[in-house]
């Protein structure tokens, strides 16, 4: 068969003519289901629409067209088609024989890629994809256990996962040794690390000192420049953020947050990679003795990691304070609770109080006024305990429990205490 599209004008005419007795059969033959054939690609590649097939007959016998998408999602066949289209819209990219490697060492705070890490991966993609003839591959070096499953969407082609126990905690020497091994074995063309305190900033400077490359720190912009050695130049913050330094991009780059747009249009094959040699045992001179218990009440609300926040729904305040103490959470409050005098003003969360950045925010008895929701915008996980299943906080929450807050908090406290007891017995 040739590839020429053969048209049957009569069939098409019948397909257009809804009153033709053979209309349904012809539609089925043409592969256009009855309700489905609202849009198709015509012979000249133009999209044709059948406006008669759109919509449905409403209860009063009037034709209705639903543009809110509810109907479309509800009708099964179309819904599935839509879903898969949405999932596949990101182009799959596989780079089998990369011309070079761009190594990224994400912070993985809390075991997941932070937004800073994603920005950095976006920057790495810029460097890797600059020459479409010879694309490079982005290598992510991840230490310790992680909970991330979106490496591909973030733009990682190769993943080197080093999950030995020696990397847990603050182990800069062990991590540095591993990175030096990566440098020897894979010799990445670029090293990118986040310039974030105690994460990439520390490790990146160690790495640069070890491999004797002068890094650019505080990089927030890169642009192509063929006059430079690596073909790029960068703008970096200098002198405690008061100057901008324009310089050629070095091999080791410590970049600030928002240095590039995160990857959104492509999905990448996260091919696992392993080092060929076993890392040598290391005699560390720095020993991590673990985190020190800090009084959560003394931590400023704006930088607290875990906040237990109280609202108008709290009746048992002693129980709330006890729960915060047992959970080791910093106490917060909504405006109502503060106005009623149950909590001090400096504990208020929201637009008129403090904008918090907690990783976990537990809202107890807070319905979620818009001012309060603004204040918790940057919280990662929000847990809501509330009696009203329709309130705005429930919509925002990642986990919502509908019920009496006092008894749920009491049960939670029991659970935590019981677990601590078991730990103590085991130890």
């Amino acid at each position: 068969m040739t590839g020429i599209l053969r048209r049957d004008p009569r069939q098409e005419w019948i397909a257009r003519n809804r009153l033709h007795p053979e209309h349904e059969r012809v539609l089925a033959e043409l592969g256009q289901g009855t309700a489905v054939a609202t849009e198709w690609v015509g012979p000249n590649g133009v999209i044709r629409k059948n406006p008669h097939a759109v919509g449905f007959i409403g209860p009063n016998g009037i034709k209705r067209i639903d543009r809110s998408g509810v109907q479309q999602a509800a009708s099964a066949g179309r819904g599935v088609g839509h879903e898969s289209a949405a999932a596949d819209s990101r182009r799959r990219v596989e780079i089998d024989a990369p011309a070079f490697l761009v190594a990224v060492v994400p912070d993985m705070a809390g075991g997941r890629l932070s937004s800073h890490d994603r920005d950095l991966l976006g920057l790495a993609r810029q460097l890797a994809d600059a020459d479409s003839e010879q694309p490079g591959a982005v290598l992510a070096v991840v230490f310790g256990n992680h909970k991330e499953d979106g490496f591909g969407e973030a733009g990682v082609d190769r993943l080197l996962h080093l999950d030995e126990e020696v990397f847990d905690g603050y182990m800069p020497e062990a991590r540095l040794a591993a990175l030096s091994t990566v440098e020897r074995e894979l010799a990445p063309y670029h090293w990118l690390l986040p310039d974030s305190k105690l994460g990439g900033a520390d490790l990146g400077r160690r790495l640069a000192a070890r491999i004797q490359e002068r890094p650019a720190t505080g990089v927030w912009q890169i642009e192509k420049d063929d006059a430079c050695e690596l073909g790029w130049r960068c703008t970096a913050r200098g002198a405690a953020g008061t100057t901008d330094i324009q310089r050629a991009l070095p091999r080791v780059v410590l970049a600030l947050a928002e240095c590039a747009e995160p990857v959104s249009e492509t999905r990448h094959a996260v091919q696992p990679l392993a080092l060929s040699q076993v890392l040598p045992p290391l005699l560390g001179r720095i020993e991590d003795l673990g985190q020190v218990a800090v009084d959560p009440a003394g931590v400023a609300l704006a930088e607290a990691e875990f906040i237990l926040s109280a609202g108008n729904g709290i009746k048992d305040w002693d129980g709330f304070h006890h729960a915060a103490k047992v959970l080791g959470a910093t106490e917060g409050a909504s405006r109502v609770a503060v106005d009623d005098g149950f909590m001090p003003r400096h504990r208020q969360v929201g637009a008129t109080g403090t904008w918090v950045t907690a990783r976990v925010y537990v809202a107890v008895g807070i319905s979620g006024a818009i001012q309060h929701l603004q204040g918790i915008q940057s919280c990662e996980k929000v847990v809501a305990i509330n009696l009203d299943p329709g309130c705005d906080m429930i919509k925002r929450a990642d986990l919502a429990v509908i019920g009496d807050s006092a008894s749920i908090l009491a049960a939670l406290v029991d659970m935590v205490e019981q677990q601590r007891e078991e730990k103590r017995d085991a130890a």
Binding site: E173, T242, T243, D244, R247, E287, G290
Partner: protein, 267 residues
Amino acid sequence: MQPEAHAKAALEVAVLVSIGRHPLTGRARRADQDARGVELAMSLDKARITLMHAGALDDDSESALRGYLGMGFQTLTLVEQPRDADVIPALASALSETKPQLVISGERAEQGEGSGLLPYLLAERLGWPVVSGLASVEKVEDGVATLLQALPRGQRRRLQVRLPAIVTVDAAASAARQSAYGPARRGELRCTEALAVPDEASSEWTVQPARKRPKRLKIVKAASARDRFKAAAAKAEGGGGQVLTDVTPEQGAEAIFKLLKEEGVLR
């Protein structure tokens, strides 16, 4: 903190100080983090503290360096270097001569490149461990220092490091004491000569006052007008949040407990 009084002191501490820059007026001053480092050194028990600076000596830098002397010191070692010199070799040789047990520095300079690389490069050259972001030094015993490292969100981590070591000070360390004018005037800057290595790479850079960084726009990728409208008019919503209705308090508490455990906020 007179050196004579502590001649038999067990711990030799060197504090690397730099010349700061006032964020508003742009005048030379004692650098905030380095002053915190000096304060940290002064909080140590039985320490003999040497202040050390590598750089050029002129009117501005002298007044700034005297700011450190005013914290209660009689001398400051000044390793003389021209303005555009790489101070690492000079500092490394000065440190290997004086052999301090603990070297304290700030995190990054307030002038020049301010990359914060100096402690790392010194450590690499001297073969010492380096620990960054200290809040305080708890104790020093038998050549092992117990340190408190400042983590984000007000947390602290306890570390042990074998001396000699280089440590940098975090902004969470206790604030520096005031500099007294009299002692600052009376103090002596002890100049030593050192070989100057010019820093060639930095001459190729262009330096300007920091530009304001462009604010990131919220990019909405939507296929249809309806999606765009929804994104523009959307209230904050988690989407896909799990809602537990009709559960006993125990079941609810268990779900929350599991989430808290997963996030690792329970200790």
